[in-house]
């Protein structure tokens, strides 16, 4: 038994009394929530959600603009762009959170998990590759893979997304286990915090998981037009996806590292009282 088994889960970094204050960066103090996303609805930004599908016309979701289901045939993958449903409710939950923050963003549902799909890493990778080439501006990944065999391919793909300025917003596993791509440096990795305000984020100066967002006892859309109250990192990531959609709608063309810089500057645990004359 090694001590690492008893390291706190990623979301524990954001628990009350645990999250450290981080130093402000004075030149970035002009960045305010109003500048970043105030008045923005996410209009004109396409958010892809790799998950179990999205239940279209759910009251909390509304219209889904694009669909993709990946089928595996003997001679390779078939990419089906016909509308699909949500196998479980997980993708619908993510979509509802994103729409609640960025109501006018465009949603693309990429179904890689469901009754006819095994959720295998190969399907996940095929879906991610499709999103990177699709022109989407934000990608929400509340799924991850722990398979070591996919490490290399996923790292290559996440780099590819980074170079295309496509932010991948990822939920890590709740235990400090391998979970790719959520633990890679080029993604926006988000764990659940107790924060209730959907527009308030925390920054963890001790990566790999850099951001905390609401994900504890969150009411979300679920199957058959229903709702559930849920807890998990899966539901923290869509909060950041929604905010990034609004940010990109207002400031098109920001790169992934610029987006991270903005989110870090707006984090609730930046010690802003140190800005003027305080310790730097």
């Amino acid at each position: 038994m090694t001590a690492t088994l008893f390291r706190p889960a990623w979301s524990d970094a954001f628990a009350a009394g645990v999250l450290p204050k981080v130093r402000p960066i004075p030149p970035l103090d002009n960045i305010t929530p109003e500048w970043a996303w105030g008045g923005s609805t996410g209009a004109g930004v396409e958010v892809a959600i790799l998950d179990s599908g999205i239940e279209a016309n759910h009251p909390a979701v509304g219209k889904v603009q694009r669909y993709l289901t990946i089928h595996e045939e003997a001679d390779g993958f078939i990419y089906d762009e016909q509308p699909h449903d949500d196998a479980f409710g997980h993708g619908t939950a993510c979509a509802g959170i994103i729409r609640s923050i960025a109501p006018q963003c465009s949603l693309t549902s990429v179904k890689v998990l469901g009754p006819d799909l095994t959720g295998r890493g190969a399907m996940f990778i095929a879906g991610l590759r499709w999103v990177i080439e699709s022109g989407a501006q934000v990608c929400n990944l509340s799924l991850s893979s722990s398979h070591a065999e996919f490490f290399g391919q996923l790292q290559q793909l996440t780099d590819s997304a980074y170079f295309k300025h496509l932010p991948l917003v990822c939920a890590p596993h709740n235990l400090p286990l391998p979970s790719y791509p959520s633990l890679f440096g080029v993604v926006l990795s988000v764990a659940a915090s107790e924060e209730r305000d959907p527009e308030r984020l925390a920054y963890n100066p001790d990566p790999p998981v850099e951001f905390g967002a609401p994900g504890i006892d969150v009411e979300v859309a679920w199957r058959n037009g229903g709702t559930l109250t849920v807890t998990g990192n899966s539901f923290a990531a869509p909060h950041v996806s929604g905010l990034v959609a609004r940010l990109l709608s207002k400031h098109p063309g920001l790169t992934v590292f610029q987006i991270k810089t903005v989110l870090r500057a707006l984090a609730t645990n930046v010690a802003r009282d140190q800005l003027n004359g305080g310790e730097q």
């Binding site: 088994l5 008893f6 706190p8 889960a9 979301s11 524990d12 628990a15 179990s52 196998a87 479980f88 409710g89 997980h90 998990l113 469901g114 009754p115 095994t118 959720g119 509340s142 799924l143 991850s144 893979s145 722990s146 398979h147 070591a148 065999e149 939920a171 596993h173 709740n174 235990l175 286990l177 391998p178 979970s179 659940a192 504890i216 006892d217 679920w222 199957r223 058959n224 229903g226 709702t227 559930l228 109250t229 849920v230 807890t231 998990g232 990192n233 899966s234």
Partner: protein
Amino acid sequence: VTANDLHLELILRTATRAIPAPAGILLLVDHPRRRLNVEVVVGDSLQDFSNTPLLLDEGIAGMVALSGQPIAVACTRGDYAHANDLTERIGYAPQTILAVPVTAANGRVIGVLELFDRQGPPTFGMDDMTLLGMFAQHVAFTLDQRRQESAFPAADEKMAALTDQLTAIAGSSDAGFRLCQGVLGAVSTFINGEGVRP
């Protein structure tokens, strides 16, 4: 019932004590049949379910098995049917559910550990999720050990059959005897951990 089976039950019982909950279940993934088989059940309310497999695409447990992501659910509006077909099927409607994947060393999800109806706090929290995840790691170790133990008797049987065949060949001629002596020497070296050298 093997020691490992008892150990699995002990893990689940301990989990329901450490994270107070009246019921819990360990489901194992049967990938070829695309279903979840009930391995261990704790709590009177789930006993009727002990022999009923779940389809892999059903409810919270199926979602956790396929996604590998843990989740805690509070069915605060009587909407448990959306959350867990497993319990609805036997007339047990939990208000809160915590489900974590059991992940093998190679990263494959091999099971799901679930607790129902948190006692004390109104819902399962992140600490509960982390703790149940640790129990799930113990389940994974135990299942791996059980798999290895069940594999060895089969290997022993095959080895005994091979020895019988070699003995028959060895008795047939001097050349056969020398051949078998060489084969058994190589097998012995391999089993003793020195590997096979050219």
